[in-house]
Amino acid sequence: MKIEHPYDKDIQEYTFDASNCSNEIIEHINSCEVCKKVSESYLVLSRELKSQPEPVLEFDLSELILDQLNFSKKEPIYNYLLSFIIIMSLGITFFAIYVFRDTFSNIFSANITISNYFIVSVTIFISLFLGLDMYRSYYKKINMLKY
């Protein structure tokens, strides 16, 4: 009787994925000493792979990463505080505009004085400077994250 053993791939399937294996192959391997031995050798390999030691880092990974991310535990409180200040300043500004609405209407009418010019130009200059600085620091942080 000529025995034709299955392929190596089939034996691996029988060993690791028996549910996908055809009955014909299962029957052959169950009754064939040669194939059984090959299947067992794959099981031994699998067992020894499982017990291989895992690689270990020589440095503290969490510390290294957290240092680079510049986490600040105060950040959420700081963010709330910032939002609070912004809302308060907006509120005060609108309130002031409302209270001094007559004066404001004068600013934009014909009676523009040097001091009004001065106040408006300084305000624009400071806002521009702060805006640019905020944009620059935002861009720098995003770039740091993008690597």
Binding site: P6, D8, K37, L49, P55, L66, Y147
Partner: protein
């Protein structure tokens, strides 16, 4: 799975709120998988250190876009695998240099002469340690993709669908590469043990 996803969601929410200890938890929960993938794909120790940092900075950067279609660890595994893939591409290192004979070999019929890797129950502890070192060397000789697939399946015990998720390879390809990888690994071992017998 449901519970795990709730834990993941909770951790991500805390990190996005600025809680560094939550990110530390994510790192300690996933670093085993991340380090394994990097160590199997990349040989240079300095580059390994850079890559592990790059991975977690990317994770932090993309955390907001995580959609919970997979486990957080699988998603981080995918980022790690892709980061290593880019590294290998840049260094022009092939992820898999398939030997023309390999495809044929998996389809070779088993014969009495097939090398059977076996363990002897009576062997001493020292011998076992030696066997583990021999296995490490045999694994080292595999191409990066084979090493990674073997580790994901046998060490990390991930399912085919999780491996598919991480590597982006179709499930059938994952299975086929695993067949070839185990066969090649057994051959590397047989070369070593035959050399010793001589």
């Amino acid at each position: 799975m449901e519970r795990k996803s709730t834990i993941d969601k909770d951790l991500i929410k805390k990190v996005l709120g600025g809680d560094s200890s939550a990110f530390e938890t994510i790192i300690s929960n996933t670093k085993g998988l991340v380090i394994q993938i990097i160590y199997k794909m990349v040989k240079n120790p300095e580059d390994r250190k850079d890559l592990v940092q790059e991975v977690y900075l990317k994770v932090y950067d993309k955390l907001e876009s995580f959609k919970f279609n997979a486990k957080l660890s699988t998603w981080i595994g995918t980022i790690t695998y892709n980061t290593c893939l880019n590294y290998l591409k840049k260094k022009k290192i092939p992820i898999l240099d398939i030997d023309q004979n390999e495809e044929k070999e998996v389809w070779e019929r088993i014969s009495i002469h097939t090398f059977c890797y076996s363990d002897n129950q009576t062997e001493s502890y020292i011998f076992k340690k030696e066997r583990s070192q021999i296995l490490t060397l045999a694994i080292e000789k595999l191409p990066p993709l084979y090493k990674t697939l073997i580790m994901l399946y046998h060490n990390e015990e991930l399912s085919y669908s999780e491996i598919k998720e991480i590597t982006g390879l179709p499930e059938g390809t994952v299975k086929n590469y695993l067949y070839r990888a185990r066969k090649k690994l057994k051959e590397n071992l047989s070369l070593h043990y035959k050399k010793e017998e001589l």
